[in-house]
Amino acid sequence: MEPELAVALPAAGALIGAALRPRPRVALIAGAALGVAGLAALVLAAPGLSSDQLGLRLSISAMSRALLLAGGGSLALVVAFAPARADRTALLTWGLAGLAGMAAIAAAPTLDLVILVTLGVALLHAALAGGRSLSARLRAPALAVALLGVGLVLARLEGPPVLARFAAVGLVAGLAAALGLLPYIHEFDPDEPTSASPIAWIAFLGPVIAVAVVMRARELIPTAAAAFGAMLVGLGLLNMLWGSLASWLTEKGTSAWHYSFMADWGLVLCAFGVQVADGQAAAVLVLYGILLSRLPLYLWSRQSLRERVQTDRPINLLAAALLAGSAPFAGFAARVLLLRGASQLYWPLALVIAAGLLLWLPPSLRLGRSLGLPRGRQAIGAGIAIAASVAMGLYPQPILTLAGL
C-alpha cells in the first residue's frame, strides 16, 4: 500500500493547497501535513517489494526511494526557509505536485508507464503561467517523451543487434532532453518563477526520472549496455565542460546557476555511465547535492540576483566551496568515488574527469557571491544546507545504504 500512498498523499496535498489558496495559512498546514504523511509512507515502504492494490504492481527501488526522500527534504527546506516575499503556498503546492509525479515515476512497473507519467507531468508543468510560450515550455519535455518512446520500441523489436544500439541512442537522447542537458538545453527565462522554469526539470524532477530510465534501460538492452554507458560518459563530459564554462562566462547570474546544474548533471551522467558500484554511489551523492544544496541555494540567491547584490563574506566562501565540491562537502566525496570508479574502468577517463573538475572553481566563486548576505530564515536555511552537505561529505554511508549501495 505504501507506493500508492507515496503518490496519493502528496497529490492530495497539492490539490488541497490549490483549493485553499485564498487561505494561505490553512493551505500551508494541510499541504505540509499531507506531504509529511507521503514521506512517512515512503520511509515505511520496503524497497523493491511490490504492492498490487490497484491491479498494478507498484514498487519503489531503494535508489528511487532515497532520491524521493531527498526531494521531500529539499521541498521542506525551500518552503520552510523561503524568502520573505516568496509565495510559500504556491511553492508547496507545486512542489507537492512534483513530488507526487516523481513518486509515480519511481513506482511505475514498466518504462511505458514511466514515459507516460513523464508526459503527464510535462503537460501539467507547461500549463503553469510563465514567461515562455506554452509551445516553448512543452517542446523539450515532449520531445524527450517521443525519443524515450522510440528508444523503448526499438529495444523491444526483434532484428539485427544494431537495433539495441539505436535503442540506446534514443534512451540517452530522451534522457538528455528530459533533463534539459546539451544538446537539448531548455529555453530559459531568468525572470520566470522557479516552479514554471526548466529548473523544475533539471533540479527537482530530473533525479528520479534519470534513475528510472537508466535502471530500466540496463535491463532492456543488456547487449548494448557498454554502448549505453559510453554514451552517458560522453554526454556527461560534454555537459561538464559546457555547463561549467558557460556558468563562468555567461552575463546573467540566473543563467549561471542554470548552467551550473548542467555541469553537475555532467558528473551524474559520467557516474551512471561508469557502471561500477563506486560510480553509482557518486551519482547518488551528486544528486543529493543538487537536491539538498544547489537547488535551495539557487532559490535563496534569486532575491540578491534581482537586486544585483554580491558579497564576499565567509558564508559566500563556504557556499562557493560547497558548490565547487571541495572537502569536506558532499561533492568532494562524490568526486573521489567517481574518480575511483573511472580509474577501475579506464584510467585515462579518470584523468579527463579530474581535469574537468578544476572547471568548477571559477563559476562556484561567482555563484557563492551571488547568494548575497542571507538574513533571518534564509540564513538558517543556508546554515542547514551547508551543515547537511558537510555531514554527507564526512560520512556518506547512511545515504548510500539508504540507496541500496
Binding site: 491491479g55 498494478l56 514498466t110 511505458d112 508507464l113 514515459i115 507516460l116 507519467v117 508526459l119 503527464g120 510535462a122 503537460l123 501539467l124 507547461a126 500549463a127 503553469l128 503561467a129 510563465g130 514567461g131 515562455r132 510560450s133 506554452l134 509551445s135 516553448a136 512543452l138 517542446r139 515532449a142 520531445l143 517523451v145 517521443a146 525519443l147 518512446g149 522510440v150 523503448l152 520500441v153 523491444r156 523489436l157 526483434e158 532484428g159 539485427p160 537495433l163 527565462d189 525572470d191 520566470e192
Partner: protein
C-alpha cells in the same frame, strides 16, 4: 484489418503535421486514436480499444468545441511538413517491415511513424493547440506501442494514454507573459 488501422494511424499523424486549424487537427487525432484502437482490437485488448476510443473522442470534441472552426490544411510553406509526413512514413515502414522481424509489423509501423511525426510537429510548431494535439497523439501512440512488450500489455498504459490525450486539450492555454 491491422494493416488498415496502421495506415489510418499514420494518415492521422500526417494530418496533424500538415494542418494548423482545429478541424484539421481534430480529424488527425481522431484517425490516430481510431488506428491504435483498431490495432489494440487485433491484439485482443478490447479494454485498450475502449480507452483509446474514449480518449480520442474527448480530444476531438475538445478541439471542435472551441473556435475558430477552420481546417488550416497545408497552408503556404508546408512543403517541408509534407516531406516530413511522407519520409517519416517510408522510413518507419522500412524499419517495421524490412529491418525488424517477427509478427506485429503494422503495430511497429504505426508506433514508429506516429512518434516520429509527433516529434517533428512538436519541434516545428509555435501554436499551443497544435503542440497539445501532438502531445495527445504521442500519448495514444505510446499507449498503443505498449503492446509490443514481450509479455503483452495490461490496461494501465491504455488508461493513462487515453487520460492524457483527453486531458491535454483541456489545459488552459496560458501563453507568454511577454518574455
Amino acid at each position: 484489418m491491422d494493416t488498415a488501422a496502421a495506415i489510418g494511424a499514420w494518415l492521422g499523424a500526417a494530418v496533424i503535421v500538415l494542418a494548423d486549424g482545429r478541424r484539421g487537427l481534430a480529424v488527425g487525432i481522431g484517425l490516430v486514436a481510431l488506428g491504435f484502437a483498431g490495432l489494440a482490437w487485433t491484439e485482443g485488448s478490447w479494454v485498450g480499444t475502449a480507452f483509446l476510443v474514449v480518449g480520442g473522442a474527448a480530444a476531438v470534441i475538445e478541439l471542435l468545441r472551441a473556435r475558430p472552426h477552420d481546417w488550416g490544411f497545408m497552408p503556404p510553406g508546408s512543403t517541408a511538413r509534407l516531406i516530413l509526413a511522407v519520409v517519416g512514413g517510408i522510413i518507419s515502414l522500412w524499419i517495421a517491415a524490412s529491418v525488424t522481424t517477427g509478427p506485429g509489423a503494422p503495430l511497429r509501423f504505426a508506433s514508429l511513424a506516429v512518434m516520429a511525426l509527433m516529434s517533428g510537429r512538436l519541434l516545428q510548431s509555435q501554436s499551443a493547440t497544435a503542440v497539445l494535439t501532438a502531445a495527445a497523439g504521442l500519448a495514444i501512440a505510446l499507449a498503443g506501442a505498449s503492446a509490443i512488450a514481450p509479455s503483452g500489455s495490461d490496461y494501465a498504459p491504455y488508461l493513462l494514454g487515453a487520460a492524457i490525450a483527453a486531458g491535454a486539450l483541456l489545459l488552459p492555454v496560458s501563453e507568454s507573459r511577454g518574455a
